[in-house]
């Protein structure tokens, strides 16, 4: 039995949605601090452009496309959940998880190639930021995909459908972080 506290809504915003926005607020400052540090370094070290030129823009662009598409299926899942269609919501969530897996696999291949060519995390500070920022983002992708699995499982049986929207909000955030990372790490050469 849920506590009465969980069911109240003095602000008019459902508690789960309110909480997920606060989670995102705390995430924004984590990535914000990391990217601000990177930007300060990058502006002070024009020679990092040379290191950055070894990143593969096309692989990055493909992953951007994969992640944006998975956000689209997350929206479709939300739409299905709004209509009360748990089975359809679960289906779209599974598609979103598929996007996450594709993203992670491409990333793994990309990193293997780079590491085997000597561009390791200790090569220089550009690569240190490259692996730290993208790695932190990848952890969010993997963690989000796992949670999404649980939510899809519940949604399939028609339970806790409001969570489909919450994981969708989180998933858009993961997407937005990547939208920052892609130009900063891949395009700026």
């Amino acid at each position: 039995m849920k506590p009465i506290a969980t069911t109240r809504s003095a602000t008019g915003v459902p508690t789960g949605r309110l909480a997920i926005w606060w989670v995102l607020a705390s995430e924004v400052v984590i990535f914000g601090g990391l990217l601000a540090s990177y930007l300060m370094f990058r502006l002070g070290h024009p020679e990092w452009a040379e290191a950055a030129s070894h990143t593969n823009t096309w692989v990055g662009a493909f992953n951007t496309f994969v992640l944006l598409t998975s956000s689209f299926t997350a929206v479709l899942a939300h739409q299905a959940a709004e209509k009360g269609d748990g089975k359809a919501a679960a289906k779209y969530l599974v598609l979103t998880i598929g996007g996450a897996l594709t993203f992670a696999l491409v990333k793994a291949g990309e990193w293997t190639y780079e590491i085997s060519h000597g561009y390791t995390i200790t090569a220089n500070n550009f690569w240190a930021f490259y692996y730290t920022a993208a790695g932190l983002h990848a952890l969010h992708v993997i963690g989000g995909a796992i949670i999404m699995g649980f939510i899809a499982f519940d949604a399939y049986r028609g339970k806790e459908l409001q969570r489909v929207e919450l994981i969708g909000i989180y998933w858009h955030f993961v997407d937005v972080v990547w939208i920052f990372l892609f130009p900063l790490l891949y395009i700026a050469k």
Binding site: I4, A10, G33, F41, T132
Partner: protein
Amino acid sequence: MSETAVAVGHDLHEAHDHHGPTGILKYIWSTDHKIIAMQYLFTGMFMGLIGGYMAYVFRMQLAFPGINVPGFGQVSPGEYNALVTNHGSIMIFWVAMPVLIAAFGNYLIPLMIGADDMVFPRINRLSFQVFLLSAVILLLSLFVQGGGFGGAWTAYPPLSAVAEYNQTDLGSSLWLIAVALEFVAFLLGGINFITTLMNSRAPGMKAYDIPMVCWMIVIASVLFMLSVGPLIAGAAMLLLDQTLGTGFYDPARGGDPILWQHLFWFFGHPEVYVVLLPAIGITIDVIATFARKKVFGYKMMLYTAVATGVLSFFVWAHHQFIAGIDPRMANVFTVTTLLISVPIAELCFVIVATLYGGSIRLTTPMLWALAFMAEFLIGGVTGIFLGASGADIYFHDTYFVLAHFHYTFFPIAIIGTFCAFTYWFPKMFGKMMDDRLGKIHFWGTIIPFNFIFIPLFVLGMGGQHRRIYNYQHFPELATDSMYNLRQIATIALLVMLAFQVVFFFNMIKSWINGPAAGRNPWKSTTLEWTTESPPPHGNWPRDELPNVYRGPYEYGHPDREEDYWPQNEPV
């Protein structure tokens, strides 16, 4: 240790707790906000004892160099560094935050806003479990090969980043992991506090009807959440420097050690207000109750606290005046730092104005509240010297700084905690504490406290640098008069620690056979006093949760016979 202590205290709950796990599991696996509060409280107290023990050991070494410290033995330089580092870390991250924010936040917020629990009880439980894990890792880090981390709680690289320099390969990484886990615990708890206050208030409770202590804990949680992010990123970078050998903070490889200082203090300074605001909230609630008077300027106080929080994000570089930052930047940060004394002074004036014309009752909690004001004022005023870059260049890293921040943190973490503990003890345990023993403990803590740190101000002005293991190696700092002052401070510490026995005796004695408290022993107006002491699982019967009709400080209303008007009483 915490679980057993909680178990003893909560057998009173047994009759009411019908759901969830039973037996001992109830106390370590409960989602009840009150039990989680107790877990935080007793873990925090236990860590406080360890932090106090550490202070005892290194103060003995400082006053009597080379002494065989009873209960520890000879202190080596490495051990000394580990002791001071972990004393600081423990007192801030494992005492001040868990007790002031997590314990009292968990206990008070649902009760004071008339809810039956936090909005996310299981996340609340997870938050404590992560916190407990962080505490265990920190304590273990003291016993690994090479000893505990000794690079100060600020952990500046390259000292903290390179094992060759700090000589504590494993200790420094474990310390960092423990701190990072503690941050995770407080992010989980903070989201709970914020959403609970925003969404789960009793019907009729508007924003300005919320008791000040709830506001302050929630504002502190927001501050923490918004300031800690960059440091989490920075800690990940430091951990990579330590373990994989990246060069984020290594200038030889294009990194920058000052980057850590920025990330650390961007968190570190708001952190002061993260723990200060709950202590002020506690103080104002206690003062309103025992002055029997409405808080002077509720809204002004609330806006002032928010203004303090906003300003606290723009002062961090005053910790770095001698780190080679641009002097023009130092001027900017001097101005913002001195500006922040304005809202803090305002908070003090609000408290004084609340006292003015009140009908003051000098109970033990009231004494602690008044002492908080008096002692914190000294900490605040000496901060002005350090905020001004001209003076700070001379005072930097001396005992003047150390005495200054102990005059802020001691009132916050120790006086604030005792104030809250003695005030809400009747609610938490259903028994009254012994007032006479409480006052003995009060004076036995406050007087020695001043005798510890006033000599340290003098020593700091005399040029005594921090982080020195044995002043005998520095002839100009090893004069007889300086050693006298050091010994006064150490002996005062021993006296203060001895008086804590009175507190624990009083706590246990009152817990076992103190007089029953009843629902509302202080004749207070807020909602937590309308339920049984201690409150049952769910706080009120499920269909009798209170409604709110007025603000939290309706004392001495002219139209009423009683001098207080509870928030839940219909007109």
